[in-house]
Amino acid sequence: MRNPLRKRLLRDLAGDAGKYIVIFVLMVLSIGLISGFLVAANSMIYAYDEGFEKYNVEDGHFITAKKMNTAQALAVEDLGVRVGEEFYIEVETDESNTLRIYPVRESVNLLCLMDGRLPENGSEIVIDRMHADNNKLKIGDTITSGSRSWTVTGFVAFPDYSCLFSNNSDSMFDAIRFGVGAVTEEGFSALDQDERAFCYTWQYLESPESDEEADRMSKDFLPALMEEVSVREYLPRYQNKAITFTRDDFGNDRTMMMVLLYIIIVIMAFVMTVIVTSTITKEAKVIGTLRASGYTKGELLLHYVSMPMIITVISAVIGNIMGYTFFKDFAASMYYNSYSLPTFVTLWNARAFILTTVVPLVIMAVITVTILARKLQISPLRFLRGETSRRKNRRTLRLSRKIPFFSRFRMRVILQNLGNYAVILVGFFFADFLLAFGMLLPVILNSFQEKILDEMIAKYQYILTVPMEMTESEHKLEGLISGVMFMRGVETDNPDAEEFSVYSLRTTDASYITEDIMLYGVKDDSRYFRADIGKEDVFISSAYAEKFRIGPGDTVTLKEAYEDETYTFEVTGIYDYSGGLAVFMDQATLNRIMDMDADFFCGYFSDTPITDIDGKYIGTVLDQEALTKISRQLDHSFGDMMFIFEIFAVIIFFVLTYLMSKVILEKNAHSISMTKIMGYRNGELSRLYILPTTIMVLLINLICLPLVDAALARVWRYYICQRMTGWMPYIRDIPSYIKMYLLAIVTYMVITGIQYLRIRRIPMDQALKNVE
């Protein structure tokens, strides 16, 4: 015979629908959302991984100062690689976007055509799908750059630009202002050929099996390559953020989503145990009778655990159905909003199913079984007497009679429900954390943006491209000629222009992600650099100091990007500059350290655009647009996510306060009924039974906010230090915290209204009825 107690379950479910529906909704939304993300991410990662072979993705690329001649190309191929030309030219569109234009690829890094068709003549172009989305470009639109224009004939995904990093040292990609496109050979030839970047892809004849092997092979390849050609940029695939960032970020998102889900399940498991414990208390005498009749603890435990498990199973099934339908598309649209991924086919994901079904069930089972098993340890006799506390001799806390009666009463209610308030505390902490993340990110980004603009050294920093020959001692004559050409080409009449030297080195501190550090050599009487810098002074930017926790007196050791040579500097000051990780010193000192002539320079600071220098010598322009792209992109990528976090936080606030205050009132329904008989009015009963929870909610929220702030600051720092290059400081924004506090209170006020109605509805005859 099957246990007849199971017949109760459906009736319990219907009888307490209010409680179970809110839990069910929260769990379905959480599981659905996370399942959708996992399914979309898994399918997209599959398409991404498959793309390496399908689109014949490079093993790396290098950029040379000049086009390689045939002998050089053959010599490089002799190093065990296949080399392909992938020259590009960057143009600035009339919308101030940078478009990196390639000829349509035919062998390596093939394009995935997502919509439209490939270009057929010199005036047509296909562009990256995401860049088009971000700039609201449609097929048939025209892109203009000065006197040139192209008609967009299609949208593509470049397999070597799944993430639109224009420069590998950038902290963040920029899918708004930076894009890639492809034109016909004819169209490419029509561009200014002096602007060509001589980019070559390489593919090993024997492909590496792992990143470690790729690392070893690339380290062997680089010195051999440098013997043949002058390398300006060298980027093996496993280090190329434009290729790898997407997959890494998918992994991070997955981890974050799983943590989000499991925390919600843990909170819901505790909520469930509070509800079931309350039912056990209410049904103590029935349990006592059943135990006295021979029901085992195990049978009763199974019965009381069934409801949480049933709710979780149903939530998981419906959540997964929604995950594969609605939420998958939602998640895919969010990923497509950030990444240039090829088209994908939805794949059944057994792992996602386990993570969003089996694991929540296990969490729910472990927590409910552990707590309820302890509760059911009480002897049958004590259950029969209605004693449901595990401690036999609970000592009553003495309250002074000087405390007014109503206050003492409320304190008793608080003491009676400490377990419920503990669950609210845990839940509020988590909800506040989500809310803080959602609310503070825009504040942090805005503040960062403002700070960067305030602290700009100059409105424009022109970093010049110095011909490689100038720095190579073995080609003296060539170097001399190039030097003269360079000096002429970069001469300017702009009175705002001020020369500086700049050099790029890399960090060596293994406990952080490797960073490119810009070493600036500034003039001692600089009008742009706002600090007095002596010959021996070494200042570091405030961003560098904050991220690496470096102060005056400390030393920093940096190394050449592709060589082993290291440089050690003693820091003498911090310079307020949030725009990047940088070291500042006297120009002559930097030139001496880097073996350059005393009057060497390779950049201009200027508050007005410099228009009279040869464009081919302009490597990078750091202006407002360039410096703020990280905050712009983060805002774009995480904007939707932050909204989800805020919605979830409000739902959690609502669910927790609704359920816990409902349980408290139900627990006391008999007493409320009795006090009504005695003549207490509904308002007085609210002061006795609702006000304690109100006080606790206000207090708990107040306790949670500083805890959340401390936790968020740590998480933020960890993320920035371990996952991102560059630095963006965490901001403790008090107005945001006040808003968060008020939001929780407003949510609770709605609950208070519901609970007041509930008190009004408790009938006076409840206290007079039999237990049944």
Partner: protein
């Protein structure tokens, strides 16, 4: 003898607040006997019933039922013992509020490998027409009848009744007593009923009267009254 109770002692509290509730209770019962435990409030009768029922333990003494001694039983064995041998009826009916009359009785049937027929029990208890009702739709007497049904459906060797008529009016109390009498006669269970109603002693085979934790009277009625004949 079927039930042998030997020198049962039980106290509550410690030090100066210690109260000796049972001070060495001994008696024995035959299988199928109807035993009434009489005594005023605080005499220890409910405590004794709980010890016989295996939901409380004595400080000293032992109980043997069908040759099995309870003192040596661990908690799991006690649960099994209750499951196999005992049916419990309380003053408050302790029914499961969202199960129907029939389902509440099935809760008891689940515990037995060979339960009695539910419809038969429903007819015996006069509950057949109410079988689909929930406890809240029943009168006190009907609820107690359901509780009796839940206790006897598994055909227990011993039926323990703790003030089963305590919350009922005269007429309903007599109905319940008649039912317990019928059950005792029809199914041959040993019934031990705790009551402070002295009139009930006349329907018992065996009367044990307790006061201050000791047995003041242990008599066997040579002439019994039926429940119908009782007056109080």
């Amino acid at each position: 003898m079927f039930i042998e109770i030997q020198d049962i002692q039980k106290s509550f509290g410690q030090g100066t607040s210690r109260v000796d509730v049972l001070k060495g209770i001994s008696f024995s019962l035959d299988r199928g006997e109807f035993c009434v435990l009489l005594g005023p409030s605080g005499s220890g009768k409910s405590t004794l019933l709980n010890i016989i029922g295996g939901i409380d333990r004595p400080d000293a003494g032992d109980i043997a039922i069908g040759g099995e001694t309870m003192a040596s039983m661990k908690e799991k064995q006690l649960t099994l013992y209750r499951r196999k041998h005992l049916g419990y009826i309380f003053q408050l009916y302790n029914l499961i509020p969202n199960l129907t009359v029939r389902e509440n009785i099935e809760v008891g049937a689940y515990l037995s490998e060979h339960p009695l027929d539910v419809d038969d029990i429903l007819n015996t208890l006069g509950l057949y027409e109410h079988r689909r009702k929930l406890p809240s739709q029943l009168s006190g007497g009907q609820q107690q009848r359901t509780a009796i049904g839940r206790a006897i459906i598994k055909n227990p060797d011993i039926l323990l009744c703790d003030e089963p008529t305590g919350a009922l009016d005269y007429k309903t109390s007599k109905e319940i007593l008649k039912l317990i009498e019928t059950v005792n006669q029809k199914y041959g269970n040993t019934v031990i009923m705790v009551t402070h109603n002295t009139a009930i002693r006349d329907m018992a085979d065996h009367v044990i009267r307790l006061r201050d934790g000791v047995v003041r009277e242990n008599t066997v009625n040579s002439v019994k009254k039926t429940a119908e004949e009782l007056e109080w």
